[in-house]
């Protein structure tokens, strides 16, 4: 691939390579719908706050502006203290997406580091890291997040990002470890090891780029988790309630009795925004799944043969790996995991 692509000043005239075009075409409809929906929200987050005509915190004391239903001046009505709901919503989408995307990036990096390290180092390291991953998978995150944030004197955006990232990595780490185990046994990895490439280069150039679809899926999942958790935390009051996020909007709507006052325009827009962003992410993820796992699209067709090695639990193609050789301590640790149940006596892994 040494052919230089024509790079011109007018990118629009450069024909898309067939590969790029093909990727968008090959994307299942679900993924396309999800991507477009997500694009709309990201656009709203970027330009939305610039379009607002009101300060979202400005409490308009004018008579009749408390709990005013939607009209031309206030497209989504006003809150009890006369604040414009639309302005709050646009600022809130930006803040919530900022938080969720930051958590997505940080937690995904953590899960790649843990997953790749576990699989590549192998042996006792693998078992210790897997044990930690499994423990944090099984401890419910939200109650732990609640006490962590509860003790923090300042519950700002940054604190929430740090705490959510710190607890958001195990799902991704589990998948990426399985994929890395499969890839590290491949010939091209063995070849680069033989040519004397340093370990960091093998990891960064040979292994991680081959896991891009899995990393993308786990990023999307993490963003979904971050939105859900941050909105829930703000809803129970564990956030900076002076700034406008989708969660803090819902907190104020709930604590000022929006429901009882019949002010649906106050609590429906932020909740609907969360639900639509979430739907976009779920669609995107399902689409990525289908792209990678042809079985989810058409049954037993010609293409299915290549995926026979998949265990049904794997959401994205995680290639079948020869089970790692374990030392005595490592296999002792491994025997406590749920997956040990399905190992064969002679040490062959997998369910088949």
């Amino acid at each position: 691939m040494t052919v230089a692509l024509p790079v011109s000043a007018e990118p629009a005239t450069v024909p898309e390579t067939p590969q790029q075009l093909g990727l968008w075409r090959r994307l299942p409809t679900k993924a396309k719908v999800g991507a477009v929906m997500m694009g709309v929200f990201i656009l709203a987050a970027i330009i939305g706050p610039l379009l607002t005509t009101y300060d979202p915190s400005f409490q308009n004391p004018a008579p009749g502006l408390s709990l005013h239903p939607p009209d031309a001046a206030h497209l989504l009505g006003t809150t009890q203290s006369g604040q414009d709901v639309l302005s709050q919503l646009l600022v809130g989408i930006r803040l919530t997406l900022e938080l969720a995307l930051s958590v997505g990036v940080i937690a995904t990096v953590l899960s790649v580091v843990v997953g790749v390290a576990a699989a590549y180092l192998g042996g006792i390291w693998d078992e210790v890291l897997s044990l930690a991953t499994n423990v944090f998978l099984v401890i419910p995150a939200l109650p732990l997040l609640i006490i962590l944030l509860g003790y923090l004197p300042q519950k700002g955006q940054l604190a929430t990002i740090v705490v959510l990232s710190g607890l958001g990595w195990p799902w991704g780490a589990r998948l990426i470890r399985a994929q890395t185990l499969a890839i590290r046994g491949r010939d091209f990895v063995a070849a680069s090891r033989e040519t004397g490439e340093p370990t960091w280069r093998i990891l960064a150039v040979e292994i991680v780029p081959n896991e891009v679809s899995l990393i993308a899926a786990s990023f999307v999942n993490t963003v979904l988790y971050a939105i859900g958790a941050s909105v829930a935390l703000a809803f129970i009051g564990l956030a900076d309630l002076t700034s406008w996020s989708l969660g803090s909007m819902l907190y104020w709507a709930q604590s000022q009795q929006a429901l009882q006052l019949g002010a649906w325009w106050w609590f429906v827009p932020p909740g609907l925004a969360v639900a639509l962003i979430g739907t976009a992410l779920v669609l995107l993820n399902t689409g990525i799944d289908e792209l990678g796992n042809p079985r989810l699209r058409k049954a037993g067709g010609a293409g299915a043969g290549a995926w026979r090695g998949l265990r049904p639990t794997d959401p994205t193609p995680v290639l079948q790996a020869a089970p790692p050789r374990r030392g005595r301590l490592a296999s002792f640790l491994h025997s406590f995991s749920r997956s040990s149940l399905l190992d064969d006596h002679n040490g062959r892994g997998g369910t088949r």
């Binding site: 799944d289 796992n293 040990s340 149940l341």
Partner: protein, 328 residues
């Protein structure tokens, strides 16, 4: 060592990790939690102050290991200290009042949602491209909604506007909780809408997962062989495909449980349901740290226990696992 014994040990390790995190959080966080509590509740006695210091590790009475040991002993006796917002009630007594509500509601609704979702997933997986696949994106919309927001909407539509269900609370005010008809009737009636929320919010997840596992299983050679033998469809679906697809579904159930419980607990707040979620909200709004920490532990232990039960079901349901158990 049998699989179940090993899993019990694993869950004990997980429980110990949770306990240890719970012990170190108040000691590692900035700020003085005890003074924050005392400022908020001036009527606490000096002995309560010292008890709080010991529990939250502020005054550093004794070495950290000494504190740690005392903490583990206390928790093992289900002694979570004295509550500060409802002083002098003990945290354990508050938990004992609220846990049955949550376990009954969340447990029942989750099992129902799992059963319906799995059944729908089987149908959607078998009849691929049928109408069930068409509803799936709609169900995903509900799945992507926070539980508490769905609760707000259902409450608005079915209770505030349509008056079909009561507006929140666990039972009609004035009734004395107990095992008599009026109370049970009222409690069931009040739990219908919260239960419906959990079912609607979580059903799509189970359905999607089961559908995907079914699709993968149906591609297996043994399903093709069963069809080639001319077995009737229902036998192929239930005995060959579903039977095998259920095991990964059960494993997924164990892992997703934490999310469902977390969502359901926040949902309780909307309904003012007298469960552990509402207690948690009160703890958060009044900086009641001992109560928050105890609730974290209780929820964690419940989820670990449920996971252990799932493991037991897997051993019973999976012939390979049973054979392994016998061989060990």
């Amino acid at each position: 060592m049998s699989f179940i014994v090993r899993r019990v040990i694993f869950y004990l390790v997980a429980a110990w990790v949770a306990l240890t995190i719970n012990f170190f959080i108040p000691r590692a966080m900035p700020g003085n939690a005890v003074q924050a509590i005392m400022a908020k509740f001036p009527n606490l006695t000096p002995s309560a102050y010292r008890a709080l210091e010991a529990m939250l590790g502020v005054g550093h009475p004794g070495s950290i290991w000494h504190q740690y040991w005392a903490y583990l002993v206390n928790v093992s006796h289900l002694n979570f200290g004295t509550d500060v917002s409802q002083y002098p009630a003990s945290v354990s007594s508050l938990l004992a009042q609220t846990i049955p509500w949550t376990i009954t509601l969340v447990g029942t609704a989750t099992v129902i949602a799992f059963a319906i979702g799995t059944a729908l997933g089987i149908m959607a997986g078998w009849r691929r491209g049928g109408w069930l696949d068409g509803v799936l994106p709609g169900l995903m919309f509900f799945q992507a909604m926070p539980y508490f927001f769905l609760a707000l909407i259902l409450l608005e539509l079915l209770a505030v506007r349509a008056h079909i269900f009561p507006i929140g609370q666990g039972y009609t005010g004035g009734l004395v909780p107990g095992w008599h008809w009026d109370f049970i009737n009222s409690a069931v009636y009040h739990s219908l809408l919260p239960a419906l929320t959990i079912v609607i919010a979580s059903i799509a997840g189970w359905m999607l997962q089961m559908r995907n596992v079914m699709l993968t299983t149906i591609g297996e050679d043994y399903v093709l062989a069963a069809q080639a033998k001319g077995l009737p469809d229902h036998r192929v679906v239930w005995t060959y495909a579903t039977r095998n697809a259920l095991l990964p579904q059960l494993q997924g159930f164990g892992l997703a449980l934490g999310f469902v419980v977390s969502g359901a607990i926040v949902m309780e707040i909307v309904f003012s349901y007298p469960g552990i979620g509402l207690l948690l909200l009160n703890a958060v709004t009044s900086n009641d740290y001992p109560l928050m920490q105890a609730i974290f532990l209780v929820i964690t232990f419940a989820v670990l226990l449920a996971n252990l039960i799932v493991d037991m079901i897997i051993v019973v349901a999976d012939p390979r696992a049973r054979a392994r158990e016998g061989a060990r």
